[in-house]
Symmetry: C2
Subunit: 552 residues, 2 copies
């Protein structure tokens, strides 16, 4: 396969999260993005999910660089873990690199970081990469045109086509059409909203809604949003200034993002528009805006703590207006709804998407995707950044535009896609998947551990401990039973003492027939499990701990 261009997605296919795409030509590899994903509900105790990079480690010498499209967690969040094993240069725009630096500092990682600008060309071996500006829900986002000896690949990154972006910088239509004119072999396109009809609304539309709400509010305004949505925060500042309010910033990640974005010039406001949280008391309620984390109902975030009355500085009072300038990420709906309820209870007026248009998506809808395809006319397309349903919707859309079904590839993580100048197909697969991060541990929590946690969560644990002298076939100590998460012990003393008796009988009996540990443990486990299930319809994890008496 030496003279072909390979694409190997290690994340971001059939899922929204942990984006990572490997492009390979001969002995050269360029990686685009290295993101994380938040754990599924049943992944108890897991903090993050990152891509399995076995393929890159096996080809370590070939990896020349990692290119970043923008600064969202699902595109840069895995870098601290990846760079530890794979110390290669990282390219990104100024804001992306700025946000990455915070993250790497927290992990004490030194990396070679190279700043690029939209419009710039970077040559890495046989790859010639052109960065082009795209609109997205974080500033300084780019897509990449990757020229290779085999052909040009258009890697859109996350994007939308916003005709009135807050910073005035529209997606680079000239580069897109120029590439289309020169010929695009393949396009990896954001498919997140491939099922959504029409066009995604402009970020600026949210500003108009803010204006309306700010104009009517008589008390404090509290706006919760993603910390990285700098344009949204810009609009909060702009509207605040218009209504002679000052803005305070709450929540660790919000403070960091505002700091970096202000320092780098992505967020601009007069000094007088900013107020420290400590100085809020000196302002009248109708002069205050608070920008906060917590738009997803995160338990430790600023807004959630305000709602719970546990924030050290800010209490919700009647007259407050709280805006959720976001929509819940799937899975967070209940958390968000609880926070809304607590805020209402504390007397706040709560405004969220559905009550008013206080949020817009950062991803292109169907009409934008069609426009993109018409501007670039790629020979082949690979929908990414989507679950299967979104990838299928993208394929459906391309076919509506006259493409052959075979021109849109259905690709999964780990697939190896081979491009020649006039073909594209899946030719095999490599190791790929999810690595779970729990605390310091990376990858030491897998299916076995998760299955145990799930059983422990459902019905708790029952430990049976005894010391035996196997040669004398005698029980030296125990058996004792301890349970946690099974029943309320004080109210179930009868049940537990019956269980202990059962175990004792079973152990003494088993010692007559067996001396090997496995047989003895099974002789305890099975009757106990059956007894407990019969009495309670529960299946706690049963842990027989049999000790041999020390021979000293």
């Amino acid at each position: 396969m030496s003279d072909k261009l390979l694409l190997v997605p290690l994340g971001g296919m059939g899922e929204i999260g942990k984006n990572m795409f490997v492009y390979q030509y001969r002995d050269e590899i360029v990686v685009i993005d290295a993101g994380l994903k938040f754990p599924e509900d049943e992944m108890f105790g897991v903090d993050y999910v990152i891509p399995n990079i076995t393929y890159l480690l096996e080809n370590q010498a070939k990896v020349k660089a990692i290119f970043l499209t923008h600064g969202h967690e699902d595109h840069i969040g895995a870098l601290p873990y990846v760079l530890k094993q794979l110390p290669v240069p990282v390219y990104g725009t100024r804001l992306t690199i700025g946000l990455l630096k915070i993250k790497l500092d927290e992990h004490n990682i030194n990396a070679v970081l190279k700043e690029v600008k939209a419009g710039e060309e970077v040559k890495i071996g046989s790859f010639q990469l052109t960065c082009f500006h795209v609109n997205h829900s974080i500033p300084d986002s780019i897509g990449l045109a990757i020229k290779t000896p085999v052909g040009t690949i258009l890697h859109t990154g996350d994007f939308k086509l916003d005709q009135t972006p807050v910073d005035g910088k529209v997606t680079d239509y000239f580069t897109l059409t120029r590439l289309g004119n020169e010929g695009v072999l393949g396009m990896l396109s954001d498919a997140t909203n491939a099922h959504r009809l029409g066009y995604t609304k402009s970020e600026r539309d949210v500003g108009k809604v803010f204006e309306d709400i700010f104009g009517k509010a008589k008390g404090r305004l509290i706006v919760a949003s993603f910390a990285s949505n700098i344009h949204r925060i810009q609009q909060v500042f702009d509207t605040a200034v218009r209504f002679r309010r000052k803005v305070a910033v709450v929540g660790r990640s919000m403070i960091k993002n505002v700091e970096v974005a202000t320092e780098l010039g992505y967020l601009t406001y007069p000094d007088s528009a900013y107020v420290e949280i400590e100085e809020l008391d000196s302002l009248a309620a109708d002069r205050i805006v608070i920008v906060s984390t917590g738009s997803q109902g995160e338990p430790l975030s600023g807004l959630t703590r305000m709602a719970a009355g546990s924030h050290p500085r800010i209490n919700i009072v009647p007259g407050d207006t709280v805006i959720f300038s976001s929509t819940p990420v799937p899975g967070n709906e209940k958390l968000v709804s609880k926070v809304i309820d607590s805020l209402s209870k504390a007397g706040a007026r709560v405004i969220y998407q559905g009550i008013a248009d206080v949020h817009v998506s950062g991803h292109a809808s169907r009409e934008e995707l069609k426009l993109l395809i018409n501007m670039t006319r790629p020979k082949f397309m690979v929908p990414c950044h989507g679950e299967y349903q979104h990838q299928a919707a993208f394929s459906d859309l391309a076919q509506l535009m006259g493409y052959d079904a075979s021109a849109v590839l259905s690709v999964e993580n780990g697939h190896v896609v081979e491009f020649t100048p006039d073909s594209a197909r899946v030719v095999g697969s490599v190791t790929a998947g999810s690595v779970l991060v729990d605390g310091i541990g990376v990858g030491d929590v897998g299916n076995v551990v998760l299955r145990d946690r799930q059983q422990l969560a459902a019905d708790g644990v029952m430990v049976v401990a005894a010391t035996v002298d196997r040669s004398a076939r005698k029980v030296i100590a125990g058996p004792d039973i301890i349970s946690r998460g099974f029943v309320y012990v004080k109210e179930s003393e009868d049940l537990l003492s019956q269980a202990e008796l059962n175990v004792s009988v079973a152990l003494h009996k088993a010692l007559q027939d067996h001396t090997d540990w496995v047989a003895l443990r099974n002789a305890i486990r099975e009757p106990l499990a059956n007894f407990l299930y019969e009495k309670t319809r529960r299946r706690p994890m049963i842990l027989p701990v049999l000790l041999e008496a020390n021979r000293n």
Copy 2:
């Protein structure tokens, strides 16, 4: 308080679920509804949540009857548990009683069940109850007008005002306006949709959308819906007949509901419209409709198993059209989205609310609530069947209509509301809350057990077992360490043997200073917990099990 009317909600206030409302006049109590709620995410292992009925048990002799408004789980689901402790007559309409019977049979409960009809009056002591028909997402739903010596209370039950209901039976406007004319002291109103603008759409509108989808589908049609939504199922049958398709029914609860509803005449269709699932193979794909459970992505439901390829009879194939005729209950969004993705992957076209209007709510929106208030003009109102935000939206709405804020009471579970002929206020509170059902156990899982399950779920468990001879201050056996759900043991042998060494040192040292169990256990637990946290940033539950050697 003898000559006053009391209302004590034991469930359904500040929440959507486990509805239970106690009306008390002198020594007589009538209860309305006895529902369950599904557990919150963090209630690991819990099957259902039911109301705490301590108040009723303390006043057992006074309880004359339980009245049911309709057959949904959140109104009848707690009855098997309640009737075991409180065997009183239960009143309900024919379908409600029919569905309840199935439930009671499963629990082997005999109860006095009394069938009532919309329009009927029932006298129970000083209470005179008039049942009136309302529209809701299950047939045979009623509201209750409760005449008492103090005044009339209007208990709406769950309702909407559907001008074109599928069975032609509209909400009983005559009784509502008559009551309004005679004077309504208080109204307990469904507040679920008090925040939704306008009117809730008619159930019949879904039928039109079905017609459109059925007309275009070339393969099989699979419709997932709540099993109790008989009118929805009726519309599936009606549309199937129109397009010469036959209907098969899949899923335990769907089969039972269709059976009961057909038997009692709430669901009508020609015999030829029905087909057994075993006979589906004899029909062409475009002659088939399958009605299935699984609209909430429930892991064991018919549709989820079809999507996973594990249903014994039905595999999803390209050409199938699947309709989710429902919206996800908050918390189920991710489950539903996963099923949609699997169905898409298997080749089905999936249609859900948002893509087409294939679902309508069963609860009145703001304009309907206003209409209800104008028809009945109650002196006082208590919004129920809603979280705080919905109750607050109801209050806001009443004030928009000119009511004084004090006319809408903000009531929580356990509050005692006292009505006199011209006043209503909260005068105290009684025991109320949640009882958790896990397997056979009712109430034996509480906060302690749940907190343990949460810790076990997050970081697993580590058992430290040893047998000691305290008088000799010697360790007879162990200490041994066993962990589950903490780390993948095979890859962490070093960590675990270090931990075992730590524990051994700590135990031997502690035995020099202490002989009481608590001190010994603490001497193990604390250093081990610190060691593990430092190495892994995890906090597994540590269970020291110390045995005393038997003195025989």
